[in-house]
C-alpha cells in the first residue's frame, strides 16, 4: 500500500518532468498537464507500478507457496482428501488479483497528484492550467485502457506467482530460484501484455475513426 502510493506519486512526477523537457522545444508547455497525465494513465503508469507490485507481492507469495510445496504442506493437504488447488491456490489467486488491481488503480490516481505537485513546485506550471488540459486529452477511452491494463496486470501477478510457487520442487535453493523466475516472468509478461493492449486498442480506434 505505502509502496504503491509512493511509487504512484513519483512516477507521475518523473513523467511530468520528462515530458516537460520535450514540450519545451515546441513551446507547448501549456499542454503539459494533459499530455503527461494521458501518457501516465495509458501507458507508463500501470507498467511501472505493476513492476513494483510484482517485485513485492509476487516474490512474497511465490516464496510462501514454494516453501509450502517443498516442506510437503501441500502433500499434507492432499492426504486430507482436499484439493490444494481449490483450498490454497484459488483464494490466493482471487485475493492477489483483486488487491493488485485495486492497488494499481489507487497508484494511477496518485500519479495525477504527483504530476500536479511537481509541475507547480518546480516546473512553474500553474496547477489550474495543468488540470484544465486534462479533460482535453484524457478521454474515457484512456481511463478505460489504464483500468483494463491494471486488471490484466493484477491477473498476471496473481497467476504467475501462485503457479510458479506451486510447482516448486526440491530444496531451499529451488525456492530462491522460483522467486527469481516469478519476478522475471512477471515483468516480461507485463511488458508484452501492455504492448498487446496498446496495439489492439490503437487498431480498433483507427478502425472506428477510419
Amino acid at each position: 500500500m505505502v509502496t504503491t502510493c509512493v511509487a504512484g506519486l513519483f512516477v507521475g512526477a518523473i513523467l511530468a518532468i520528462q515530458i516537460n523537457l520535450q514540450l519545451k522545444d515546441f513551446g507547448a508547455q501549456s499542454f503539459l498537464g494533459g499530455l503527461s497525465t494521458s501518457t501516465t494513465i495509458r501507458n507508463l503508469g500501470p507498467v511501472l507500478i505493476a513492476f513494483l507490485l510484482a517485485g513485492r507481492v509476487g516474490a512474497f507469495s511465490s516464496a510462501e507457496l514454494g516453501t509450502m510445496a517443498i516442506t510437503d504442506q501441500l502433500n499434507a493437504i492432499r492426504c486430507l482428501g482436499l484439493n490444494p488447488l481449490s483450498v490454497i491456490i484459488m483464494p490466493r489467486l482471487v485475493a492477489l488479483t483483486i488487491s493488485s488491481f485495486l492497488l494499481l488503480v489507487l497508484g494511477l490516481g496518485l500519479t495525477v497528484f504527483g504530476g500536479i505537485i511537481i509541475s507547480s513546485v518546480s516546473l512553474k506550471v500553474n496547477p489550474l492550467q495543468f488540470i484544465s488540459h486534462i479533460p482535453q486529452f484524457v478521454s474515457g477511452v484512456s481511463i478505460f485502457i489504464g483500468v483494463l491494463k491494471s486488471f490484466l496486470f493484477g491477473i498476471i501477478i496473481g497467476t504467475i506467482s501462485c503457479f510458479v510457487g506451486y510447482q516448486t520442487t526440491g530444496g531451499a535453493e529451488e525456492v530462491g530460484k522460483a522467486v527469481r523466475r516469478t519476478a522475471v516472468v512477471t515483468l516480461v509478461s507485463i511488458i508484452v501484455t501492455d504492448f498487446l493492449v496498446s496495439f489492439v486498442v490503437e487498431s480498433i480506434s483507427q478502425l472506428l475513426m477510419g
Binding site: V6, I17, Q22, F26, A28, A59, V175, V179, V192
Partner: protein, 251 residues
C-alpha cells in the same frame, strides 16, 4: 552497537566497499577472475530478457506517442525521434535497472542470506577474510559494469526498433529519422542516462547485500530478504530517478 536502518546500512556497505576497492587497487590485489564471473552472471545472462523487454517497450512508446502527437500537434512526423528521446532519457535506464534488480538483486540477497544462515560468513571471519573485499566488491563492480553495458545495449535496441517501426509502419526514411533524432538528442542526454545507470548499478548490489547480510535465520528469512531486496531497490530506483531528473535536466 546501534542498529543501522535500511538506508544507512547500504550506504555504510558502499563506503566500506569503496575504501576496500581503493586499498586493494593500491595493493594490486584485484580479484579479477571473480569480478569477471560476476559481470558474466549479471550482464550476459540478462541480455535476452532485457533486449526483448526493451524492444517491446520502445515499440509501445512509439505507438503511444504517435497517438498523442496526432492529438496535440496534428502531425506525427517527429514521433519516432521524440519517443526515442524519452526512451534514452527515462525508460531504458529505469526498466533495465528494474529488470536487473529483480534478477540480480534477488539472487545477491538470497546467496548472501544462504551464506549467512549456513554460517559461511562466520567461517570467512575465522579465516580473517573481509566479507566486504570478498563478497561485496566483486558484486558491486559486476553489477555496475553490467548495468551500464545493458543500458547502452537497450538504448541501441530501442533505436533499431524505432527506426524499423518508423520505416515500416509510418513510412519515414531512416535518414529522416536520424536527422530529427540529432535535432532532439544531445550528448548531454546520453550522459544523463549513463549517470542514472551508474547510480542504479551501485544501488542494486548494496541494497540487496544489505538485506542478505542481515537476513533472519531459517529459509523463511532468506525468502524475506530476497523479497525485500527486490521491492526496496525498485522503489529506491524510482525515487533516485526523480532526483537525478530534476538535478540533471533542470536549469
Amino acid at each position: 552497537m546501534r542498529e543501522w536502518n535500511q538506508l544507512e546500512y547500504p550506504a555504510l556497505l558502499f563506503c566500506s566497499s569503496f575504501v576496500g576497492f581503493v586499498s586493494s587497487l593500491t595493493r594490486r590485489e584485484i580479484r579479477g577472475r571473480e569480478i569477471i564471473k560476476q559481470i558474466y552472471e549479471c550482464a550476459v545472462m540478462s541480455i535476452p530478457v532485457i533486449s526483448f523487454s526493451l524492444g517491446i517497450v520502445s515499440l509501445m512508446s512509439v505507438l503511444e506517442f504517435s497517438w498523442h502527437m496526432r492529438v496535440v500537434l496534428r502531425q506525427d512526423a517527429l514521433v519516432p525521434a521524440f519517443s526515442l528521446v524519452l526512451t534514452i532519457r527515462e525508460v531504458a535506464p529505469v526498466v533495465t535497472a528494474m529488470l536487473l534488480a529483480s534478477r540480480v538483486g534477488a539472487s545477491i540477497a538470497a546467496e548472501i542470506g544462504v551464506m549467512k544462515i549456513t554460517e559461511q560468513l562466520d567461517q570467512l571471519k575465522l579465516l580473517a577474510v573481509s566479507e566486504v573485499d570478498y563478497l561485496l566488491v566483486p558484486r558491486w563492480l559486476g553489477c555496475l559494469v553490467a548495468n551500464v553495458a545493458l543500458t547502452l545495449i537497450s538504448i541501441g535496441i530501442a533505436g533499431v526498433v524505432t527506426i524499423f517501426i518508423g520505416a515500416r509502419w509510418m513510412g519515414y526514411q531512416p535518414g529522416e529519422f536520424y536527422n530529427s533524432l540529432l535535432l532532439f538528442t544531445t550528448g548531454y542526454d546520453l550522459a544523463g542516462a549513463l549517470v542514472k545507470s551508474l547510480c542504479f548499478g551501485t544501488l542494486i548490489p548494496f541494497v540487496s547485500a544489505g538485506y542478505g547480510l542481515r537476513c533472519a535465520l531459517g529459509s523463511q528469512g532468506v525468502g524475506e530478504a530476497a523479497t525485500q531486496a527486490v521491492a526496496r531497490s525498485s522503489l529506491l530506483i524510482i525515487i533516485i530517478d526523480l532526483f537525478i531528473n530534476s538535478l540533471w535536466w533542470m536549469p
